[in-house]
Every structure is written in structure tokens, then in C-alpha cells.
């Protein structure tokens, strides 16, 4: 396997609606930004990977067909990747394998989403559940994660104020990120006063439906070094899958508990093993952890090994994981909680860590960041992806 680096990243500002572009034009914006950042043109790209989650969310059947021209992919290998919410990071992993395998030297991973164009998002997502046993009920990503939050809170003693603190932290971070969707700072009491959606989740605990594009350019070690650009090296990747059945994630015979994110912990441990991460809190400066709702951040911090299960919300109450805290900073971009363009949300996690470890994250920069973790989760907490990035190819110091 060859070393692979992220040499260019591109993100448009994420907003609710864009009326000035159609979907492929939006996709092209992200790609163009990443190509410019990498100092290459479409002619330099050997293959393209395109992330896109369920078709019905953008209201286009096989939306990848529409975007071949926008991504300069005619005459080139092209693939779509879909692992639900993990799609964006899974696509970067597919691009990584393209280059690490020696098949390609320069790969573009680029996509976009426009979630707010559908008023039926939760109805579309409901169709993930079993036809006969589950779909007659209003199961969707909100109720599914509300049940996870209820179970976590009951198991560890967290409450709605603990969740509110996570929104406060991430909004504060997002206020420093010009690309973030929800950038207004908010207080704990303001979050607690937002309207109840699906207890214990309130509007202030939920991500927005975002529109925007993102892309990265991946290069082999030789090409990356020749580019003369700052490189975020992909030091490890991990994946894992969990059972389809939420009801199998409870009780004494469960493998993973729906309160926790044990399957994600395994995906992360696989990336750690490849990267040589044995003490995450000491070795990671920054982590962009996919958490669309405040409650999810509690168990993903724990899955990343940044603290013990049931401890994250107490640490957050003590000010840890925030910019300027001196601990591993979690979601300095404001995270998925403040910006969720589903198809590229996981890709943005990798792009943000790449910006951090190359010292290019501007006002949201974690001082002296050398090593970071990106993660994503998709499909009813079912598909998991992780990636460790660093600004060097040396052994990662403990």
C-alpha cells in the first residue's frame, strides 16, 4: 500500500437554500475549489469518486448520472458511494484505496447536497426501516436518535442540559467557521427553551438541513510531495457495520448497545491500529466526529477513546473538548450539528481535519494541530467510517 495525502480541499459556504445553481453546478463549485487548492486541473485527475446518499433526498434518480460532466469524469473511472450519513467519508476512503493500491495517482472526491429541497426528508428516511415490522411506525433519524439519547441518559445519568452544553460549544465553534450553516451563538437556556420535537431532543439539539458542496483531491506520496502544497497524510482508515435491527441492540444478548456507539469504536480502533494511535487523548490534537444531534456527540467522543463511556458530558461541563481547552478539540468547525449536507458531511469531516493538521483552519484553528481523527455514521447507526490524518509520515508521538 502506498502513502496517500489530501492535497486540496474545497467547501462552499453551507446554507439552507441555493436558488442560483442546479445540483450539478453546485457539485462543480466544490470540485473547482478543491482543484484550485491542490494546484491541479481536471486534466490531472485520474478517477472520480462521488458521494450521494438516498436519491429521494435530492429528488433525482441516480443523481450521479447528472454530475459526470460537472466532475470532468467523462472518459474516466467514476463511482458513486452510498453508506447513508457515512457516505462522504466512505467516498474519501474509496478514493484512498484507489491511490493506495497503486491504481491511480490523483483522485477527486467531490459531491454536494441540497437537503432542504425536500419537505419529506424524514419520510424518505423512514423507508430505511423494515417493510413489515417497522415501517408502519414513525421511525426516522430523529426518533431513532431520540431513543438512543433516552437510553444513554438513563444509563449514565446525563440530561437535557448536558445535551444543551454540546450545542453551545459547537455553535461557538461554528461562529468561527465561515462555511458553517448555523453560526449564531446560543446559550444553554436558549437551547433548553427551543421547542420539543422528540423527547429528549429539542430543535436546539438538531442539525439543520444544509445545501452546499465539498471536495478533496487525493494524491500518491510521490505526486503529493511534488505538488509543493501542504499535505494531510491519511495515516489510517477504519470501517465497521452494525446490525440492521435496532431492537437487537438492547438486552443482555446484544453485541452493541443502542445507547453507545460500540461499532463505531471498533471502526475507529481499526484506523488507530494502522496509524499507531495507542493513547488518543495524548496523540490526537483535533477530532471531527460526525454527530448530527447534540446527544450523539456524547457517545462518539467515548467511542473515539477520548474518555470512558458515560464520562463525556461531565468532561464537556468542565470545558473540555472545546477550542482553547488544551484537550483534544472536538468539532472545531461546529461539526455536523451546525452543518449537515448529508452526502458530503463525512467528507467535510476529513477536509476539516486536513485543514487543521496543515495549519490552515483560520479562526477555528487548533493551535499546533499535527494529528486528527475524522469519523462518520450512516444508516440508522449502521455504517461507520474513520480516518486518522497527520501532517507528517513519521511515527505519531505519544
Amino acid at each position: 500500500m502506498r502513502n496517500v495525502g489530501i492535497v486540496g480541499t474545497g467547501q462552499t459556504p453551507f446554507v439552507k437554500t441555493r436558488t442560483d445553481v442546479v445540483y450539478p453546478e453546485l457539485v462543480r463549485e466544490g470540485a473547482t475549489l478543491a482543484l484550485a487548492d491542490a494546484g491541479v486541473t481536471m486534466a490531472d485527475i485520474d478517477a472520480v469518486v462521488f458521494p450521494l446518499a438516498p436519491d429521494a433526498l435530492i429528488g433525482v434518480g441516480n443523481g450521479e448520472r447528472w454530475c459526470v460532466e460537472a466532475l470532468g469524469a467523462h472518459g474516466k473511472p467514476f463511482m458513486r458511494v452510498n453508506t447513508g450519513g457515512a457516505t462522504g467519508l466512505s467516498a474519501v476512503q474509496a478514493g484512498y484505496m484507489h491511490v493506495a493500491s497503486g491504481m491511480f495517482d490523483v483522485v477527486l472526491v467531490a459531491g454536494a447536497d441540497r437537503v432542504s429541497e425536500s419537505n419529506s426528508a424524514q419520510s424518505v428516511l423512514n423507508k430505511m426501516w423494515d417493510v413489515a415490522y417497522e415501517r408502519l411506525y414513525p421511525l426516522n433519524t430523529i426518533t431513532m436518535l431520540a431513543m438512543s439519547a433516552q437510553r444513554y441518559n438513563a444509563k449514565y445519568g446525563a440530561d437535557e442540559r448536558d445535551m444543551a452544553r454540546i450545542t453551545v460549544k459547537n455553535r461557538r465553534h461554528a461562529s468561527r467557521n465561515p462555511n458553517a450553516h448555523l453560526r449564531a451563538e446560543i446559550t444553554e437556556d436558549d437551547v433548553l427553551a427551543t421547542r420539543l420535537i422528540s423527547w429528549p431532543l429539542k430543535l436546539g439539539d438538531l442539525c439543520p438541513s444544509s445545501t452546499g458542496a465539498a471536495a478533496v483531491v487525493l494524491m500518491s506520496e510521490e505526486r503529493a510531495k511534488r505538488s509543493g502544497r501542504p499535505v494531510a497524510w491519511i495515516r489510517g482508515i477504519g470501517q465497521n457495520s452494525e446490525t440492521f435491527w435496532m431492537g437487537d441492540r438492547v438486552g443482555p444478548r446484544a453485541v452493541g448497545d443502542h445507547a453507545d456507539a460500540e461499532a463505531l469504536a471498533i471502526a475507529i480502533s481499526r484506523a488507530y491500529a494502522q496509524a499507531g494511535i495507542t493513547d488518543p487523548s495524548a496523540q490526537l490534537d483535533v477530532a471531527e466526529l460526525y454527530a448530527p444531534f447534540s446527544s450523539v456527540e456524547m457517545h462518539v467522543i467515548e467511542a473515539a477513546g477520548l474518555c470512558a463511556p458515560g464520562e463525556s458530558f461531565r468532561r464537556i461541563a468542565d470545558g473540555e473538548f472545546a477550542l482553547g481547552s488544551g484537550t483534544t478539540v472536538v468539532n472545531p468547525s461546529g461539526g455536523t450539528l451546525c452543518t449537515n449536507p448529508i452526502a458530503v458531511t463525512g467528507l467535510v469531516r476529513a477536509a476539516e481535519v486536513a485543514l487543521q493538521v496543515t495549519g490552515r483552519a483560520d479562526a477555528r484553528q487548533v493551535e499546533g494541530a499535527n494529528v486528527g481523527l475524522a469519523t462518520a455514521i450512516g444508516g440508522d447507526h449502521q455504517f461507520y467510517a474513520s480516518m486518522v490524518l497527520a501532517n507528517h509520515l513519521e511515527e505519531i508521538a505519544t
Binding site: T19, A56, G59, N119, S120, Q122, S123, N126, V131, A132, Y133, E134, L136, Y137, P138, L139, N140, I142, T143, A146, M147, S148, Q150, R151, A154, K155, R195, L196, I197, S198, W199, P200, L201, T243, F244, W245, M246, G247, D248, V250, G251, P252, R253, V255, H258, A259
Partner: protein, 165 residues
């Protein structure tokens, strides 16, 4: 080559949106195992299937064990009592989902089953969320109630508190 910027006056009156509704219909095959489970509901029976290897009773019934990758062998009738494993109380309507809030959506693990099933928890006063959530938590005992005229779908049954509040 010259480029011409958009004329704001002209574009401000241009159409901005195209509206469309997808009208899709399906007739999904249920399969023998699910079919037998749904037929059981008509007799107010709750049927699971046991994995011969790990001996878990998978409920609702499945034809194979996802962990052992073995076909399940025996039908198991599970009890009409159990415990609440997780729940949410929904206060906001979701577009396209035909149920009016507020309601409790829950997974409960029934006696004799190793896995939990989704359903509504009925009979709770949901006017005050704080009071309602003081009455139920993970582990709260529940009982199954059946509709008087079950038609062979999962909404034929629901949960109620084993000890009414």
C-alpha cells in the same frame, strides 16, 4: 473572450423553483417467515424464531440469525409482558407520517425474546412531558395489548404500563 454578468433586474423576475411530487407505489413480497408472523397476530400470538447455534429467540421472527448466519429452526411464542428498552415521546408531526403527536414510540423486550420490538406505548398522559418521563424509563415493565379485531399487521398490538400509573 468577454464574460457578461447576470443582470440582477432580469434574474429577479426569473422562475426560481420547479415543484414536483413523487407518487410511487409498491407491492412488497413479505416472505414465508414474515407472513407466518403476521398470520400469528390475527390469533393474538407473538411469534419469534430461535437460532439453533446461539439459541437467541429473534423477535419479531426472522428466517436466519444475522450473527451465526444459520437458518432459524423453531417457532417460539413470546410472552405478552416485558420491559421497556428505549423510547421517545414525539410532540411534533413529521410530514408524510400519518400519526398525530403526542405519542410514545418505544422498543420493548418481551418475556422469552432476546431482542426488542417497536410499538406505541399507550395509556400515558403526555400533556406534561416532565411528569410523563418520570413514569417510564429503560427497564419499566410493560404489557402487550391487542386490538379486538387484529388484521395481521404489527399495529395490531401495542404496549401499556404493566402497573398503570
Amino acid at each position: 473572450m468577454t464574460t457578461t454578468p447576470f443582470d440582477n433586474a432580469a434574474t429577479s423576475s426569473a422562475p426560481a423553483f420547479f415543484e414536483q411530487t413523487w407518487d410511487l407505489s409498491y407491492r412488497h413480497a413479505l416472505g414465508q417467515t414474515v407472513g407466518a408472523f403476521l398470520a400469528g397476530l390475527k390469533d393474538k400470538k407473538l411469534l419469534g424464531r430461535r437460532c439453533p447455534t446461539c439459541e437467541r429467540a429473534l423477535f419479531p421472527a426472522r428466517s436466519f440469525c444475522d450473527r451465526c448466519h444459520e437458518p432459524t429452526t423453531d417457532w417460539v411464542e413470546v410472552g405478552h409482558r416485558g420491559v421497556l428498552e428505549m423510547f421517545t415521546i414525539v410532540y411534533e408531526a413529521f410530514p408524510g407520517m400519518l400519526v398525530d403527536p403526542p405519542y410514545v414510540l418505544a422498543y420493548a423486550r418481551l418475556d422469552g425474546a432476546d431482542t426488542a420490538v417497536v410499538g406505541y406505548l399507550k395509556g400515558l398522559d403526555l400533556t406534561d412531558v416532565t411528569k410523563a418521563t418520570q413514569l417510564i424509563t429503560t427497564g419499566t415493565p410493560i404489557q402487550v395489548r391487542f386490538s379486538d379485531n387484529p388484521i395481521g399487521q404489527v399495529t395490531d398490538f401495542w404496549f401499556e404500563l404493566a402497573s398503570p400509573a
